[in-house]
């Protein structure tokens, strides 16, 4: 019950029970989880969910958190409108 109430990924509205179910279902790599659930694909780029999910994966696999590989960090650092990019590129 509590797992349904704990939000792990705010961008994609993923709760702890969904993360744990996916891991138990065999998505035991953060990169696979991301492609299955979209965790880490939202505006924050995984800043919130990544440490939490790495801990879940480590505990499930019985390894240290630092043994769970980090996914690639994707630009941009902050969400950016096309017009801002366009203005930036013509102002050189």
């Amino acid at each position: 019950m509590k797992e349904k109430m704990i939000i792990i990924c705010r961008c994609e509205d993923l709760k702890l029970d969904e993360i744990r179910a996916a891991i138990a279902d065999g998505y035991t790599d953060f990169e696979e989880l991301k492609r299955f659930l979209r965790c880490g694909m939202g505006p924050c780029g995984g800043r919130t969910c990544l440490p939490l999910i790495r801990r879940e994966l480590a505990s499930y696999l019985g390894v240290a958190v630092e043994d769970i590989p980090m996914p690639t960090t994707r630009p941009p650092q902050q969400v950016t409108t096309f017009s801002a990019i366009s203005i930036g590129s013509t102002e050189e």
Binding site: D29, R35, F36, P43, P75, T81, F82, I85, G88
Partner: protein, 383 residues
Amino acid sequence: MNDFPQTADVVIIGGGVVGTSIAYELTKRGLTDVVILEKSYISSGSTGRCGAGVRQQWGLEMNCRLAKGSVDIFENLTEELDYDIEFRQGGYLVLAHNEAQIAQFEKNIELQNSLGIPSRFVDHDEAREICPPINCDAFLRATYCPTDGHANPFKTNFAYARAAQRGGAKIFRYTTALAIEKDENGVKAVVTDKGKISTKFVVNASGPWSKEVAELAGIDIPTYPERHQCLATEPLDRLFDTMVISFQIGIYLQQVPHGSFVMGIGEREEPNHNINSTWQWLEFFTGELLKILPILKDLRVVRQWGGSYNRTPDAAPILGESAKVKGFYNAVGFSGHGFMIAPMTAVCIAEQIIGNTPPVNISPLSEERFGKGELVVEPSVVG
């Protein structure tokens, strides 16, 4: 590892959509002792970075047949694999910018229609009905095929992998093929970092690494990896259903079921495995996008990434058994359209392996064509 197999009927190198779909089609045909070797995670290569489009509007008969056959499979794949692959048929709008392109597209449409692909020319008014915000100053006419569309490449990959496993296939992630043993009768074994598997059939489905894997069997193929970059935006309410592409600009963009737009543009790059994102690409892309769809100027970019096309000199894949090493099959060199033709390609390769005639004649796509100079040049490649 105790459970690492010492023998297999077929060893597939590569756990992307091509490798897993071939494994599934083999198990479906009763060949269940299949092993997939994946050196990283499932969808770690081109499939996991794919632009998610499914198009049948090709200029070569073989590509049309592979793409149409794949759409026929995609239409029922969610049910067949018991996994929602998010297949949607919102169409593809292909922009023509000059008379030479229109002449080429006239030939393409005649060919496509003769093969049952319902593509047609549309004028500016109809293009605006299909994609209301499009800037009609940016093109002369367009072609449209309503049964083209979208599928989720990651979910399709996972769906095939799981269905193959249910059928008996074994998938070993983080397992690398190091050598391929052969003799005068052909393939004998694959040596991996987890142990050796004796087998008579090896399938090279390694995408960007296809050249390196073919070299393990002593086969030289003219494939090379080429970086292509994409981006995804914030999600919006549905603006339009169609994919919009232009071969001239090299751009493609589509609103996926999640609501975000997935967009990309191709650039010529030096062959290498670099798939990092660049800000130069983002600036270049933005300029081209706003010429076609200025309405999207206030849309926010959320994520940018790069992936590899596995290119061949004629932008057509290399499919089928090697003439040099019996039992060694290539399913590589898709040049940016491997995902969309994977379902039918998998059927063809599986049929060949079990000794049947494939439903699409893929013999012109053998690796030998390059030595003979019999290239099969596809005129309609994006990027």
